[in-house]
């Protein structure tokens, strides 16, 4: 009897504690409700437009799916198919070449322009805007079309070369040996957004350091090497990661310059372009999904490598000494 009483009492206590906790939880919820409401557009976007489709594409990557009829489960056939697909290997090669060339060139150029702009010129904001414009337009179709005109057989570049006495300049956009570099150049030209970030970073470096170095007799180059560069490494790192990811996903320039074919000779068959062809032109959406996931892993891998190496070369102000 007593044990029963005791257990009832204990149960009552548990219940009471449960009620209390629920009360606390609901109060917490009420307190945070406003936050969730304001977050809702982003949350809906994330779950509905990003995570949902991502998971769906993960499922589809294990199916044969032609967009128009029901997907059919094929396990890892799509992934095995990639390994035997010469055009896929080629697209990996093209994309890696592009990334390896475009990212460092773009960052170097962005840093150079940022340093030039950081010298307190008049009408600075005008210059900043002017230099930023290409990257606003950069992803757009119009600029890629412009590029195609510039480097076409009768384009500005060739007219210039002809006036300089080159009698038979190549048609850059259909020449297998040059076309990729034309697209790299287009990428580098869109240096605006890393440039603006570099500029912000440069502004944060305390003047005193330069003054002290100046007093100690450090030259311009030495100041750059010993002050600017080390203090800027977090920004370099940030830009590197951002541009790496961006560069892996390059699509529009190749699509426009090659008119969607990836030609000549698949030299502009970027990974994403091949993915698009497989999915939307050849209706192999399962295969395309598998490609998307392999790309995801690629990008994650490269980002991880960047993070792992960062401890050896990125200098954080709060970790010094």
């Amino acid at each position: 009897m007593r044990t029963a009483d005791a257990s009832v009492g204990a149960a009552g206590q548990v219940l009471a504690r449960g009620r209390l906790e629920r009360l606390r939880a609901s109060r917490a919820l009420r307190r945070n409700l406003a936050a969730y409401v304001f977050l809702a557009p982003w949350l809906i976007g994330f779950f509905g437009l990003a995570l949902g489709p991502m998971l769906a594409s993960l499922y589809l990557s294990f199916t044969k799916f032609d967009l128009l009829s029901e997907p059919r489960w094929v396990a890892i056939d799509n992934y095995l198919g990639l390994l035997q697909d010469q055009r896929w290997w080629n697209s990996v090669h093209v994309t890696l070449t592009y990334v390896v060339l475009e990212v460092p060139l773009k960052l170097a150029f962005a840093l150079l322009v940022a340093i030039l702009l950081n010298r307190g010129l008049q009408a600075m904001s005008l210059y900043r805007t002017v230099y930023y414009v290409p990257s606003l337009l950069g992803g757009s179709v119009a600029v890629a079309i412009l590029w195609r005109q510039l480097f076409g057989s009768q384009g500005l570049v060739n007219e210039l070369l002809r006036s300089l006495g080159v009698s038979h300049p190549p048609i850059w956009i259909v020449d297998p040996s040059y076309v990729l570099y034309v697209i790299v150049l287009l990428g580098v030209w869109q240096f605006g957004s890393p440039m603006v970030i570099f500029l912000a970073g440069l502004r944060q470096i305390p003047r005193e350091l330069y003054e002290a170095a100046h007093v100690d007799g450090a030259g311009r180059l030495q100041r750059f090497r010993s002050i600017t560069l080390p203090l800027l490494t977090p920004i370099v790192f940030f830009n590197l990661v951002l541009q790496l990811i961006h560069s892996f996903h390059a699509f529009t320039p190749a699509f426009i310059v090659s008119n969607g074919t990836g030609g000549p000779l698949d030299r502009t068959l970027f990974y994403t372009l091949y993915l698009y062809q497989q999915g939307f032109a050849h209706l192999k959406m399962g295969y395309a999904s598998a490609m998307a996931w392999v790309l995801f892993v690629f990008v994650a891998l490269f980002t991880a490598i960047a993070f792992l190496t960062s401890r050896f070369w990125v200098f954080y102000q709060d970790r010094q000494g």
């Binding site: 920004i235 000779l265 999915g279 032109a281």
Partner: protein, 435 residues
């Protein structure tokens, strides 16, 4: 000064990793096999096609004529270039909202029929759809065991277009009817010697699917077998690439880079024919009126090279189809009926897509044609005798075969690959696409 904490925050907010993601709705329905009643209830429909501005003007005219006669129907239209047409269509179909009425290519018909995207039209004839006057020879290749899923919008034919002005300057007579592929090659070689430096006898067609299909057809073979495999041998393809290889070596074709740049440009005005770089161009009969306005020189339409049989036949230039998912099937079919049988509609369409698919309408518009249009129609009527259309439709995957051929052609011309290697690669990729 950036701290690690600030950095992480910055990174976390900015690093969205966009993966190419594809969510697609599914669901198709098999066409019903119940007798189809005619409905004249109000309907709001969409129509889409590919082509140039002239085609858009004519097609929109047909739409407004149709709406005048049937004020309860409304058709909104979209159009664009061929190169992106099917990508866009696929997305619309996958999204569950295909256009009600759509232009279709013979090379893609089976792809869409097999997946239940298109409405069976035979169930509306006779009745809503009057096929009484329709050119039976044109309709036959489109009739499948499962039914009729697209109406030929017009008839055209493989044709050789040539630049009369340039031929005149070179002192060469236009090619004579009935010349074989060998004689055509000799003609090109002779012309190469007579031409000035800035023009070449013929475009490099080694990577173009239509002339290759014509080549195979002229050898008495079907391009595709009835079970959707390649209907020609490795030797046929090897001969094709060798044929163009010899012309290329002799300087009788437009150099590969110029040809590639021209076909890469999305506008017809930059094609080698329109820029006067090529004297001759293998294409379709109805393109004469598309190219002529783009160049001052006078263009002519001439004989297509023949093999053991003619390469040409009365060809379905495009189809018009109705989506199986449309909310107004009967109304859409009424539009198709209007398209093929209404005199006003056919006057508006004229022969821009090719000859009207009924004999009655063909005769009706004959007096109303421009010089180029008359030449197109004459060419069609003079060359149709004794020809046989292919019996098998292009299987799904034909689009990939087309691109594999284009790559193979370029790999020889631009990449210096051997004819043998290019042939093998083409066969392998084509077989793969048709598996």
């Amino acid at each position: 000064m950036i701290t690690r904490r600030e950095f992480t925050l910055l990174a976390a907010t900015a690093l969205a990793v966009p993966v190419a993601l594809l969510e697609a709705c599914k669901g198709t329905s098999a066409p019903a096999i119940t007798p189809a009643p005619k409905s004249t209830a109000a309907a709001d429909m969409q129509m889409t096609w590919w082509g140039n501005a002239d085609r858009a003007r004519r097609t929109n005219q047909v739409i407004s004529l149709f709406q005048q006669k049937n004020p309860q129907y409304k058709i909104s239209s979209t159009w664009g270039p061929f190169s992106s047409y099917f990508d866009k269509l696929n997305t619309q179909v996958a999204g569950g909202s295909p256009p009600d009425i759509l232009q279709m290519d013979m090379r893609s018909l089976l792809t869409y029929t097999n997946r239940g995207v298109l409405l069976e039209l035979g169930q509306y004839a006779p009745g809503t759809l009057d096929l009484g006057d329709f050119d039976k020879a044109l309709l036959k290749p489109v009739q499948t065991k499962k039914g009729l899923f697209g109406l030929p919008a017009a008839a055209n034919m493989y044709a050789l277009l040539y630049n009369e002005t340039l031929l005149g300057k070179a002192g060469t007579a236009p090619p004579k009817p009935g010349l074989t592929w060998e004689q055509f090659a000799d003609y090109c070689l002779a012309l190469a010697r007579a031409l000035s430096r800035s023009a070449w006898p013929v475009d490099d067609h080694s990577g173009t699917i239509a002339p290759f299909e014509g080549w195979i057809h002229s050898r008495g073979k079907d391009f595709y077998t009835s079970d959707g495999k390649l209907g020609f041998s490795r030797q046929d393809a090897l001969d094709w690439f060798s044929y163009w290889g010899e012309l290329r070596k002799a300087g009788a074709t437009v150099p590969a880079d110029i040809s590639a740049a021209a076909s890469n440009a999305s506008s017809q005005s930059q094609s080698v024919l329109a820029t006067g770089k090529a004297v001759m161009f293998l294409t379709h009969s109805n393109f004469l009126e598309q190219y002529q306005p783009l160049i001052r020189d006078k263009l002519g339409i001439g004989p297509y090279p023949v093999g053991s049989r003619p390469a040409v036949f009365s060809k379905v230039s495009q189809l018009i189809c109705v989506a199986a998912k449309t909310k107004s099937p009967s109304q859409a079919v009424q539009f198709l009926n209007f398209w093929i049988n209404d005199p006003q509609a056919n006057k508006a369409l004229s022969v821009e897509r090719g000859a009207p698919p009924t004999v009655k309408m063909r005769d009706l518009i004959k007096g109303l044609l421009t010089a180029e249009q008359k030449a197109e129609l004459d060419y069609l009527e003079q060359n149709v005798k004794g020809t046989t259309p292919p019996t098998n439709l292009a299987p799904p995957g034909a689009g990939e075969v087309e691109q594999a051929l284009s790559r193979a052609g370029q790999s020889i011309g631009l990449g210096g690959a051997s004819v043998r290697a290019a042939t093998d690669k083409f066969r392998q990729e084509a077989d793969q696409a048709l598996r």
